[in-house]
Symmetry: C2
Subunit: 199 residues, 2 copies
């Protein structure tokens, strides 16, 4: 006999489809929804529908936005000669928090990963090439993750950008702030040594 | 400048209110909703509304159910002389998986926890007393967690049940199956020693 009510099972299955949420956690979340007020549950459901239906990709940089062109792209004070290429919109939020970068962005919405069946055609690379070929851009910063997929994607895109009169750069590799040498992995240490700078 | 679209921020905040979900994870979940199909997002939202509006407490045992009386309480084959008292409906699912217990349940919907502001009045203790006072019940098994709150709640309820002609029992304490002595904590070992049985 199944002692769990069917709508709860259905809701658990929806939660379990989210990344990083297993079946046990999903059940816990579903039971939590039961303890919400009517208003809370309604506004949670509305938030899903609302975000999903009103948020779309910026027609310039592919960042997620409510408008046709996102606030960064439509901001006149941003430097239009630099484009920082990132994997996800969350990466933009991370870089914006540093409050240092004043150029534009381009969101690839993924990294090339043959293991996961993600090829270059599934990313927003064409849109990036189109932006660069317009001629205004002087530098493209490849700010993808420092992982195998991130490096491979950076290499791939930089090769495609070779024909254009644009400098392609990559975020620096090395020890993260506060790191102790003892616990640094070999690749990080190798890169930190290789890219050492004069004091 | 905030580079994140407002509906995404709102959705992230809803996810972050769920237990065990921090702000970073909540953002990841919100972005995942963006990658769903229209139909998936709609059915996720519907599942929340549907579960919240159709699932309610069983009028007998307070388990969550779609019906007025849950499948366990309305099953004639269950032994009506035993009530197993648990904290949450998920605990019922756990005990049912053992496929050994054939009595009824009672869900307290929480444990007494002064630290978290949960007093006895906020639990379904009154309903349990009412069931026991009807006279049909011969045994009440206190199957709350083996934690400070679980033990305290079991003690509190068992005192309230003293005036009735009913035996109140507690789940056995000891080493879990497959445990190695070396890693057992002191309290578990103490209880395992104290409750040792003849071979």
């Amino acid at each position: 006999m199944n002692s769990t009510a069917l709508p709860l099972v259905v809701l658990s299955e929806h939660f379990a489809k989210l990344p990083g949420i297993g079946m046990k956690t999903a059940q816990r979340l579903a039971y939590h929804v039961m303890s919400m007020s009517d208003e809370e549950a309604r506004s949670f459901a509305d938030a899903i529908i609302n975000a999903h239906s009103t948020v779309k990709e910026c027609s310039v940089c592919c960042n997620l936005t409510e408008d046709d062109i996102c606030p960064v792209c439509s901001d006149d004070r941003r430097d239009r000669e630099i484009i920082c290429v990132v994997e996800t919109p969350r990466d933009i939020a991370a870089i914006e928090r540093v409050n240092e970068y004043k150029g534009l962005y381009h969101v690839l919405h993924g990294l090339i990963s043959p293991m996961n069946g993600v090829g270059p055609d599934m990313l927003r690379i064409k849109q990036l090439i189109a932006r660069v070929s317009s001629g205004e851009v002087k530098e493209v910063i490849m700010a993808t993750d420092s992982t195998v997929e991130g490096e491979a994607t950076a290499m791939y895109v930089s090769k495609l950008l070779k024909p254009f009169d644009v400098s392609v750069t990559r975020l620096a590799s090395g020890l993260p702030n506060g790191a102790s040498l003892e616990f640094a992995d070999e690749v990080t240490l190798y890169k930190a040594l290789e890219n050492r700078s004069e004091i």
